[in-house]
């Protein structure tokens, strides 16, 4: 079993829809949770960064962490074609620089 599981998709939605992405993990020591966006032929770009359980909102993006269920989510509201990318979840233990990544979910937003 992988330490971080992420459905690779692909996920295709119409413009304006809500995109829902999620990851599950097995390591209960993970404390920091991140979402990266990766456009084709580019490096991953940090989108959201959260600590422990709870919600964090940034514009059209909302990240949720449920540590009791070992489950994290990213929601994209009012999706745009420019949101078409691969979204990677990543997480780390406290005071540890090592990140564990999901495999990434490829999202296409249709105009």
């Amino acid at each position: 079993q992988k330490e971080v599981e992420q459905d690779p998709g692909p996920l295709s939605v119409p413009e304006g829809a809500i995109v829902s992405l999620n990851c599950t993990y097995s390591n209960s020591a993970f404390q920091y949770f991140m979402w990266y966006r990766q456009y084709s032929r580019k490096g991953p770009e940090l989108l959201m960064y959260t600590y422990s359980s709870g919600n964090k909102e940034d514009g059209r993006f909302t990240a949720q962490v449920d540590k009791s269920s070992k489950y994290i989510s990213l929601f994209i509201r009012d999706s745009q074609p420019s949101d078409s990318a691969t979204y990677l979840c990543a997480m780390s233990e406290a005071n540890d620089y090592k990140l564990s990544f999901g495999a990434g979910t490829t999202v296409t937003v249709r105009a």
Binding site: Y32, G43, P44, L46, L88, N95, L99
Partner: protein
Amino acid sequence: SAVISQKPSRDICQRGTSLTIQCQVDSQVTMMFWYRQQPGQSLTLIATANQGSEATYESGFVIDKFPISRPNLTFSTLTVSNMSPEDSSIYLCSVASGRISSTDTQYFGPGTRLTVL
């Protein structure tokens, strides 16, 4: 966040040769990392490049295959040695946002796309 550049952006190499990938950051950073991203797979950490000391390699990666240099706080190189087609991948460098602490995260360069024939 730091601005990170990598050279080359892509290359096609012959089996048995070596390729050195450069990573340049626009500010001094403590921690630099090298990752491999194979199609459909998670990013895998190869090693941590430490300034002034030997790199720290993850399980499954060895110095003879992936020698790393870190001559200063803004630059690092990764060499992929004696390449085989299985080394075809995207190689990414990243930097930690600051000194190692519980609030650090990582920022990535654009990657080097390597194809080995």
